[in-house]
Symmetry: C2
Subunit: 429 residues, 2 copies
């Protein structure tokens, strides 16, 4: 550690962590960004990788590439295992790192409402690995159905259940329906679209419950037009291999069961010794700091915060980005000595809108008081996401992929990459 | 099986198997194409995925997409485990498939010259899984070197040994040198290009021994200009974790050891009960059939054949494609009844040239009697490969990727995708 230079440690290279690094421009600070992965993931499009619409490299970029132009930022591939807040240290396995300021932006993880045993049967969608596993499962189910199998097995292989009627579940269900509808027609000889069943289960009375009722209804109609069976007021009681049991006792047999129903904070928050909400999110002060630790900030999905109206700020990228800028401003001021003249400002969330896609050319969107759906909403979704997508090359590639996909229904990303290794070499002699 | 229609089973969806399916246009034949993977892989560019220059989806396309326009072709994801040639059946695990004609196009696998135990320390490059594993290993080595490590460990992490001076080894070594040279400069803060060592080991007196000596020398000069240390007349005695031992007793410590030195036929050839050469390739008749089995053909890398000059036909894609067309012609004639008037023609290989790239903008090439190197050879290589690349979308995407890569040195495919799963959800309560 260089004498005189402040050391800022940032945990997590999602939207929050990255934006902080880009915004904090002080010459006397060294920033160390730590992440378990070497890439930044554009999560809003992860469902497209899961349904073979985009490839992994279209939505991920190495963190180092993104921050290469900032020489004061060092990126380290490492894993946080704990904290020593009193000594101002982060624990990374068998070594530690000291800090003057700590920014925790570790994000969220999939939550199974107290049933962690469901995870192996119903994968969530938080990482590239999740998305690729889901894609493989869906594609392999089609492949198996193409061979001679019993009618019961044929039906089970072609049934996909999506649990959770929030944006993730709606997007997954719509994209699955599209995959089945457009891919099966041309690619497979012994299975047909009418044999597939995409079922979306939602415990509440309507899907997309955070949007106004008319948008929920519009989304439902659009999903049903795509062939998705939407079942609201439907609670899941148990999930086992190829099987979902509802609270009514009804059994649904499906080879592919996808979980889009719950998100919690990264479980490392429990190691901080500060108050957490029910989902494990840190109850931060208005300026984003941990109670009792003015040099430790928490931003993004693992920080609990309320809007002025008293509703929780959603775990979406614009919120993480705004929090990151707020904290960068605070720390920048303090490094420059400005804080001596003014106290830290509280964070205010400005809702820039929320949207969810339904299939290839439809969506629902609410921006401010403006609500719209169908193709215009999809265009808005496309524009907003391309704006946020990191790096020029990804924007053009994704745009090209989307247009080609849209025009031709082709899915170049429909490859399965995790099969057993090829046969080994012949033995000696 | 429909009465009267001939059943043709094709094993393997590489260049040979695919070309056969596309060329055989007889209305009375049903073709079943069987492969362990769901995608066709453009192997000449696999080394680019291994060195983070292209993504997996750029060089692979689902077999079904490629053959979707041929309704008489059914594609099955399945694995061949044996043969019953007398009963005209292929064994696929617990079931069998009967045929009137069988086309074996299973390709090759990496050979370790009687040392299968070397494979786990020195991966070969035959599948997407191989390429992604290699890419992860190289990138992770960089990541580890970025942290504080001992000088010895730092050096070992930044040393890459490529074994085998044929086209695969040369291309890997050149691409690794480029990756180190252009990526390290901007992306990493604590490691520098001069600390990296790329070493290419070749047992023969010169690399690219199948090309004329002046092209070998040109290739060597270009590799050395990129910073590769080329060591010919160098035999490997043993390979263990992070360590290569030469026959001289010298030890080279390297975190990344890549094998490009040997190719053998798919080991399933041993189950056919027909004569094989030393590399396990089938000693086919001039018309590509197995001795004693006029309805069974073998094409591509696992068929041994000599040119009119008596030299072995190399295991390259143009050879496989030519053999496929030849066999499709023979079978097509027989289905149409034409063969009653003329015997089967023997196969003649027309050498369309051979080339190998060296880094981003150089290569060596021999087409007919024309030999050239440097940038013009690289352009020729680019043109030929794009011509062979299957599917419109791949061509444009790969072209775009290459040009962007070439202009900006950016490597969008530098992501590591196989890290441990993210933290699980919090426990109940």
């Amino acid at each position: 550690m260089k004498t005189g230079r402040k050391q800022i440690v940032v945990l997590g290279a999602g939207f929050g962590g990255l934006e902080f690094c880009k915004q904090l421009g002080h010459p006397d600070a060294d920033i160390t960004l730590i992440d378990r992965q070497n890439h930044h993931l554009f999560q809003p499009l992860l469902y497209q990788v899961a349904t073979a619409g985009l490839s992994a490299t279209d939505i991920a970029q190495p963190i180092r590439s993104i921050l290469a132009h900032l020489p004061q930022v060092t990126v380290l591939l490492d894993e946080v295992t704990g904290f020593r807040l009193a000594e101002k240290q982060v624990i990374l396995g068998d070594h530690t790192r000291s800090y003057d300021y700590l920014v925790i932006a570790l994000g969220g993880c999939t939550s199974y409402f107290g049933h962690p045993e469901w995870e192996r049967f119903a994968p969530g969608l938080k990482s590239l690995q999740d998305a690729l596993q889901i894609r493989n499962r869906i594609l392999l189910a089609f492949e198996q159905a193409e061979s001679d199998v019993t009618p019961e097995r044929h039906s089970r292989l072609l049934t996909i259940v999506v649990i959770g009627g929030g944006p993730t579940g709606v997007e997954l269900a719509g994209a699955c329906a599209e995959l089945c509808r457009h891919v099966l027609q041309t690619d497979f000889r012994h299975i047909h679209t009418r044999e597939t069943h995409i079922i979306l289960l939602e415990a509440a009375p309507r899907i997309l419950a955070h949007l106004p009722p008319e948008l929920s209804a519009s989304a439902r109609r659009q999903l049903e037009a795509l062939g998705v069976q939407v079942r609201t007021d439907t609670k899941v009681k148990a999930i086992t291999a190829d099987c979902v049991e509802l609270e009514t006792g009804e059994i649904i047999r499906a080879r592919t069961i996808l979980w889009g129903a719950g998100v919690a904070a990264n479980p490392l928050t429990r190691q901080l010794g500060v108050p957490l909400d029910r989902a494990g999110r840190i109850q931060v002060n208005p300026d984003r700091t941990l109670p009792g630790h003015p040099e430790v900030f928490a931003i993004g999905d693992l920080a609990a915060v309320l809007t002025p109206e008293g509703t929780p700020v959603p775990g979406v990228s614009p919120a993480a980005i705004q929090m990151a800028r707020h904290v960068a401003g605070i720390i920048g001021d303090e490094l420059a000595g400005h804080h001596l003249h003014a106290p830290r400002q509280p964070f205010h969330y400005h809702d820039k809108g929320t949207m969810a896609t339904i299939g290839r050319s439809a969506a629902v969107a609410k921006i401010g008081r403006l609500e719209f759906s169908g193709f215009p909403a999809w265009l808005a979704w496309l524009g907003v996401h391309l704006l946020f997508l990191v790096g020029f090359r990804n924007k053009v590639t994704v745009l090209f992929q989307w247009f080609y996909s849209y025009l031709t229904y082709k899915r170049g990303a429909r490859i399965i990459t995790q099969l057993p290794p090829p046969p080994g070499p012949p033995p000696a002699g």
